[in-house]
């Protein structure tokens, strides 16, 4: 299924969800050339934000990505409260919801390392390029080596 970034991100913003965009889409915002297919966010764990997040995605019928069809899955604030990180597929594409991220901590810790971005007629917080590199390094996944190399090159290009 085609990811509709222009639907997913505005849905979150318009519902007032507090989040910081990380991952490949954040890399794109900073100028990366690598195509990515899912949205990764670190979201605030306050009760009010869990309710907003649940309401924002409900119309997009979120379901656990890769889980067999028919598995009982209730999408609401209670489910969010009982879990932490969720890999979901929705009618607008795939989204990973992270309560915490390795190397970055939770929303409150990541927020000072983010910047405001305007796109799709909304504005939202996106992790800084330097912090994104730190997160990728902390994840320690071989698949990220190329991405880190590209992001470090971007950091150098931006400071020229």
């Amino acid at each position: 299924m085609k990811t509709q970034f222009d639907k997913l991100l505005p849905a979150l913003v318009q519902a007032g969800v507090e989040f910081v965009l990380i991952g490949g889409v954040a890399g794109i915002i900073h100028g990366a050339a690598r195509v990515t297919y899912d949205v990764d966010i670190v979201y605030a764990r306050s009760g009010a934000n869990l309710a907003r997040l649940a309401a924002a995605l409900a119309p997009l019928n979120p379901y656990l990505r890769g889980a067999p069809a028919g598995l009982p899955f209730r999408w609401d604030a209670a489910t969010l409260r009982n879990g932490l990180n969720f890999t979901l597929t929705t009618a607008a594409g795939d989204i990973d919801l992270l309560g915490e991220v390795v190397g970055g901590g939770d929303y409150e810790r990541l927020l000072p390392h983010s910047c405001e971005v305007e796109a799709f007629d909304v504005s939202f917080r996106c992790v800084s390029l330097a912090k994104l590199i730190e997160l990728k390094r902390a994840a320690g996944r071989p698949k990220d080596f190329e991405a880190i190399a590209e992001l470090e090159s971007l950091l150098d290009e931006q400071s020229l």
Partner: protein, 71 residues
């Protein structure tokens, strides 16, 4: 978009990893420089187009395999 905090930038540069250095030799800087001429919104729109294009290619591949299977 606001510029980076200086501290973050220094920290990101503080690691000299030989593996990443090897990968950096193969980064296509021309692609990055073209992207840096765009606004963040334009970069996201470009991603959206690339994802749609990839999806269309996948569908075409599936149609081709189906046709070969039934032929």
């Amino acid at each position: 978009m606001k510029r980076l905090a200086g501290f973050d930038t220094m920290k990101a540069r503080s690691v000299n990893d030989p593996v990443i250095a090897a990968f950096r030799q193969h980064v296509d800087l021309s692609l990055l420089r073209e992207n840096l001429k765009l606004t963040p919104a334009q970069r996201l729109a470009k991603l959206q187009s690339a994802v749609a294009f990839t999806g269309e290619l996948r569908r075409a591949g599936r149609r081709m395999r189906d046709a070969e299977g039934s032929g």
